[in-house]
Symmetry: D2
Subunit: 339 residues, 4 copies
């Protein structure tokens, strides 16, 4: 942490800040510039929250943190890429992974039909929600355990590994007993009780960025899971909330190379929730390949016009097949490129 | 829901949209303007998610929702102001309510000292966190039940009713057994499992707006609690996330009159978390009085320089007393005003 | 500027950065912490843009500016409050200043009637636009010089000083010849050619914050005017653009105390443009008084239902009189307060 | 425009709104639903600003615009893609166009060297700023006409058409006499005096989206140029301002397919200003190809470590050559795709 003094700070104010830094267990390294003094506060403790109080001391202009607040998630602590096995798949390796399926599991027929479409197009994993976090209490809340059973049956028939959302700590064991990967949704990205609980699970976790979560906060949420004992976390950029309303959210495509620079964890993109409209899903998925993501998670539905949720952003089968062709073409073109 | 057709939409496209609307259970009311046709979709169902799919139909330009998605929270369904009793207090009535105390409960001495300061200054309720949702897994996570016991003891000594945060559905019964009001924090505003659970509690709920939550979404989250059976919800504006970094968050002071217009529920303001710096807390709290809020929740600490969390934004006792003087002066000046 | 090295940076990388800093004319002050080295770059030059390149050097993690980039606008360079005379008025002194009038000057009758209302209510200055920056080329663009003449006539009849917007460098001399204060609108806050030109004018400038301008950028824009020779700049917070759409913009009420802390220039608030709806103008104007602003600029129209622009956010006369009563009551209550 | 009445609106209130609509020159089309009445206001006038006042009438809940406010820029008025000739180039056609060069023109040597690099890598146009809009008045403001002469000389030697920024209406004729395309920068996107002036120029205009500008507002700014007589406008997405600070701005990659859907004008991407760091420029440029943009504008500098501005985000020659290889590979892979 660096503490920047005001240009008019007195000697006594500087000394008082130094003494205060040492009273809370850090060492103070003052340094005088042309216009003002800055003081480094050095210590082992990663929780620097207490130092922020320095902003209230007389003569202090501001404080600036130096260290990254996450450790296990950082590329400094783990230089190579983490590759996460899910059945025979390897997420984070050379292959671009496509997770596809309906927003919500609605019936055995709907889910199975979706799964066969995913498989036929060349997708690698089946997605489908059994517990649905909905903005309205009056919206369909999911088939719950009944849906998990259908997901399990679809996996057995198609051999596609599955990913599904969990919304409450009390449900983690149940969901883990059916699915191959646990999804934490955007609205739960800072539900720390839930993060700690999936940190104790043995299945990998797909952690979605919240729509108002910074990249640093996303990595802190990953740190909750990693530090609770689960090393298998996949990060997912799904659009952030901005002033622009032409799309449901604004896909922060830059987050992919930024995350690749900061962390060793795999990064995937969800173009469906970002766009909110099927028309923009294919271009955004192509951008995800080109920008260097490890995969996408995309909504596909046999009959979007009958979907109970997210119909407007779900791809029909023929659009999904077209997307898979595009992905293969782009991934092929980039194969020999240094990314 | 209104469905706006493109200006070049054909007769057949218009007929197809009308047929589709009726196939999903709504009545279609088409209306032709100079440049294009618009079609109203009318029905009883409050969950209009399925209608959004119309945006994918040929010839459709966009859909626009007409109805508010919340009902119990709306002023249309309940014209008068809801006044919520907490012990002898009445939140939402003519009195401006001050909830004050430390961010986190740290020790018996720290909490008791805080409580006596709050009481001496004329505050009405004691706040203090026993379960702390922290961005970093390495930060202090709260004293948990031990902290709740200290809170209970402080209430007994000072007769101040208490409010404290609950972060997991599994803890709701425990927290309710000690506290007079349950707080849902900003990061849990769309933790629907938690909202449903506090909706079954008998104590009032202080629901904080998330930093990424629209006013409409905040009211939808209140609707979760109300529709689960708990009629006593107090809304709290605590700053939203914007591009401006001079303050921790941007206090959306306009949210107070907007909410007063849309809902019958009481609205309070948290100037401490919005500002992130004690220097701005008093002016923002004064603005909260003047804008027409029903109260504030503010962080006060006997020794902010030793606080384990939020020291920089906590008021020292003398500043808190000054704030209470200001509040009394402003509330007095406004007493005879139509708000 | 501080340059933070990566934790794995080599000795050679550190030396290379030090050499580079000195090659571009700064002195390097390295300092080694437990985990990494940081290097201060110290020099006289206020334009540190060139140093930002250090982020591209091997081994560098990030750069952090220390100095404020503005000088004349800063409270460090000018500790007391600047008080700006406009005729007999003093903006920035103990009196709370109300500038009021219609959005656009539409006719002699409309402007004069507005001016008499402003005067009757106790307002201090008359506002009214002759050059209107409109989002649409098909909207009314203002009466231009004809409007300026009407404004001048209204001033003569009511003795209210006037403020009006200028949108192009070529018009500055013309507008200055009629008005008492020049307004730079939100969309022109970084129109540097215009800022330089009003910096050469002799009349005071009301500089509105852009809807996406940071507080620091607003002060940099003020610095353009001040450094061009005009010392009389009044800053105006008028709402920023955020994800919230319930109001036209989000009034950043915290900007007032933040600016008061950073600069000696007066700060006023425009509640009309922030709210976009007359219903919220009075509460927001009251909040402006309570938070410590030096004044407001507010839209008043004798017949808002006939206004060619901004009718929805204009106050009718009786609402304006009520607002003025509220302002007097609040300002009276705060008179003896340390703000 | 649709006017939504409150559910409790009285018959008289509905009648009053209908009468008011007709008093301001529109026809009223009321329609009663289950819960409330909505009223369409139909008319020829594209400036519906006056109708917004309806929100202030008793019994009205809100107003909702139906028509797009732009006409010449819309795909409804011009279904095919506009292809803009610049010398032998065609922008908006099948070829992906690369405009490259330094941020600022600094010297004859620097510009010429840059131009030869651009040409050698296969770039199509040379960019370089002679008038620089800088946040700080103390930063380098550009070589002005001297820089334009160097740009002209570089064009003659390399035969690359040129694009350069104009910042003031008074400079438009001068800049047009030297450059092949006029650039309007992000901060001037709503400088309407400047837009009208370049609307009278004969050279094409590259219009950059402001960091606070919605897609609709960008199209309205294009409408200013088109309606002033210049049909050749190229839109440029260059990042918007959000809460995320890991990149300088957030590249809104979705804006490309959204704009392609709404307008016939070509759309290019500026990955350099969005990223603010050279490390992210190549991935973002690749995403621009994959998402369907018509080109990019990118900063290249022979020696970024000596650049007077934007050094950190400029590509070195070898990185630029690598980028051009990537672009050719991706564009090739997409050639046979329906975009």
């Amino acid at each position: 942490m660096i503490i920047v003094m005001k240009s008019q700070a007195t000697e006594k104010q500087i000394t008082d800040v130094i003494n205060w830094i040492e009273s809370v267990g850090y060492k103070a390294h003052p340094s005088s510039g042309v216009e003002r003094t800055i003081i480094g506060a050095v210590g082992d403790n990663r929780d620097k929250a207490v130092l922020k109080y320095a902003e209230s001391l007389p003569g202090v202009e501001k404080t600036m943190p130096i260290l990254k607040p996450y450790k296990l998630a950082s590329r400094e602590s783990h230089q190579g890429d983490t590759i996460i096995p899910v059945g025979n798949l390897r997420i984070g390796g050379p292959e671009f992974i496509v997770m596809a399926g309906p927003c919500a599991i609605e019936s055995e027929e709907q889910l199975l039909e979706s799964a066969y479409i995913v498989k036929k197009g060349g997708g690698h994993m089946l997605r489908g929600g059994a517990f649905k976090p909905r903005t309205s209490p009056y919206s369909f809340q999911g088939m719950e355990e009944e849906g998990l059973k259908l997901l399990d049956a679809a996996r057995k028939k198609t051999e596609l590994p599955t990913v599904t959302e969990v919304v409450s700590p009390a449900d983690v064991d149940l969901v883990e007993s059916y699915a191959d990967m646990l999804q934490i949704g955007a609205r739960n990205v800072q539900n720390f009780a839930l993060l700690k609980k999936v940190g104790q699970a043995r299945k990998p976790v797909l952690l979605k960025r919240g729509m108002m979560t910074t990249i640093e906060e996303l990595l802190m949420s990953a740190e909750y899971i990693l530090s609770s004992g689960n090393p298998n976390v996949i990060l997912c950029e799904r659009g952030i909330r901005t002033f622009e309303t032409a799309t449901r959210n604004t896909l922060d495509i830059s987050a992919v190379p930024v995350l690749k620079n900061l962390t060793h964890l795999p990064v995937v993109v969800d173009p469906s929730h970002a766009a909110g409209n099927y028309k923009y899903v294919i271009p955004l998925a192509r951008a995800a390949v080109a920008v260097g993501a490890d995969g996408i998670i995309v909504e596909v539905h046999p009959e979007p016009e009958k979907a109970v949720s997210d119909g407007a952003q779900s791809l029909k089968p023929e659009k999904y097949y077209q997307l898979m062709d595009d992905i293969r073409a782009l991934a092929g073109a980039l194969r020999s490129k240094a990314v």
